[in-house]
Symmetry: C2
Subunit: 226 residues, 2 copies
Amino acid sequence: MTEPMIEPANNKKKAKAKVVKRAAGNAEQTKKNILSAAMHEFAEYGDSGARIDRIAARANANKSLIFRYFSNKEALYASALKEAYRQIRMGEEELELEQLEPYEAIRKLMRFTMEHYLKSPWFLRLLATENLRRGQTIENMEGIAGLQSPLITQLTKVLKRGEEMGLFRENVNPSNLYIIIASLFYFPISNVYTLPVVFGVDVGSSEWLEQHLRSSERMILAHLKK
Amino acid sequence: MTEPMIEPANNKKKAKAKVVKRAAGNAEQTKKNILSAAMHEFAEYGDSGARIDRIAARANANKSLIFRYFSNKEALYASALKEAYRQIRMGEEELELEQLEPYEAIRKLMRFTMEHYLKSPWFLRLLATENLRRGQTIENMEGIAGLQSPLITQLTKVLKRGEEMGLFRENVNPSNLYIIIASLFYFPISNVYTLPVVFGVDVGSSEWLEQHLRSSERMILAHLKK
DNA sequence: TTAAGATGTAACTAAGTAGTTAGTTGCAAA
DNA sequence: TTTGCAACTAACTACTTAGTTACATCTTAA
């Protein structure tokens, strides 16, 4: 039992029209609270460092509810990881590259990527944790297909249009391009605590980040140019 | 009985001139074994997941020796992190960019960086762990000055020479350039378990990596060009 | 009102886990 | 042989933690 247990409560929808309200509180809301608390906890402390008691406290729920709804710590972690991806992908869908002029679209994608990472440090932390686990969980996760980034679809169209307009060179692989763009922001943002010590550069400051964005834009656009 | 019991039998070696051997083993060697085992353990399981008992077992040492030599788990982690940086920096010093022609030097630096990450995954894992800890340990570490990457010194000279030769544009910041180069390899290598799921790209294969290196070289060199 | 199931809680347990302690062993100098 | 000491060890302690259980309370339907 990895996840679901959808609507365990309202089993009697039998007769009438009645807004079915669950007995003694609201199970769905409790589950959401637990999931949200779990995301925070696993992002903050990693898989081994996360504590069920803290999750319960943060969710205003009792520990045994966690086990009732999510079976065990591992399954809760899996649910939290999946929910994290779901939320991130939802954010990505808001981006509308397709109407923009190709150069502008790439610039917007880059700024969006940077700001996305800055706004969701918990997501980067979960990613780091899952890779430290060697992808143990994501590999066996059902419904991973839905995790595919919607950015790639949009980027594919932008590249095609840019190519047709004679702006971009041919055969640019959208996934590889996006990996390069993501790389440029993932590294400084996820290593914000160690890089200043090692390179003496304050990669967390908005000045550095803005300058890095401008520099990266120039580099990527030149790289795409026909 | 955890494991060892080194030489329980030959208790009377009294006789003559003998190479001075310390009582029942060798403290320095034991310390090294513990440190090496700790690096492995913390890289593998993270800070919370690491287990003192496993470190003791791997080092063929008794648990209480760990506390005698390293005080506590946190201090052991700090020692392991510092040793990890020391080893990585030693490897970096072998790189000799200064005699090479500027373009060639940049190419060599890029390949070296990629291969360095591939050869030392435990270092990337320790970095990820330390950033999950928000740099708690590296910030309070004595002797961090010695951690500064020797690559920056070499790169500075390469850039200066390239500029004088009219090959590179002016005022390229060496640290920022190196951060870009490191980014391009850090992201795919440290996310090798999640990226294939999300982008359907096998970023761990040598084919992908070689192609990524070539593509990155072109991009970086164009970006540096006058 | 009551039955029954859904929802919630505190107390408990079994298995770890970091750190300590009291003592043993091996070596070399006196 | 004796003594001093550093290296080493097994067993233990105090505490934490995932997971369980027995029980209480709430909601709805009959």
